[in-house]
Symmetry: C2
Subunit: 89 residues, 2 copies
């Protein structure tokens, strides 16, 4: 089983938040002052977001970064449990 | 007030876990297969740890990465609250 990477869960969470707000990549990238290509790569888990840009993106989404990390921690805990159960099986 | 960066909280948390286990930088860097200099920079919040190396370091510390992120989320929530209170004052 391929291990889940934090950047993939961060990207997935940011994308879910953006979709929930019905916003486009262009809108959020402009608000966060990051390039559209960069934001798209971060959302797809292809690029590590620096701490500064992660703060800008979550500010643009008007969601506290702590809440994004809590969501990522929850998703990761579920993935870790799945891995442990697969190993035990 | 200088905003708190995620990499600083990740570094602080990794260092606290290492100290709590009474382990040296050398021990953990060897177990995680990262260079001692890199681990030291990550712990001091000077370098962003990639998702892969973060997974290696937490595996070396025998702590689920989800638990590290939960701790970071808690620390960040406290810092966010402090910032909001300072702004409201």
């Amino acid at each position: 089983m391929k291990p889940v990477l934090v950047r993939e869960l961060i990207g997935e969470t940011l994308r879910e938040l953006r979709f929930a707000q019905g916003r486009t990549l262009r809108d959020v990238s402009t608000a966060a002052r990051v390039s559209l290509g960069y934001l798209s790569e971060v959302e797809r888990g292809q690029k590590e977001a620096s701490s500064e840009l992660l703060a800008s993106i979550t500010a643009a989404l008007e969601v506290p970064l702590s809440v994004v990390l809590l969501t990522v921690s929850d998703k990761l805990a579920a993935a870790e449990l799945k891995t442990r159960m697969a190993r035990a099986a």
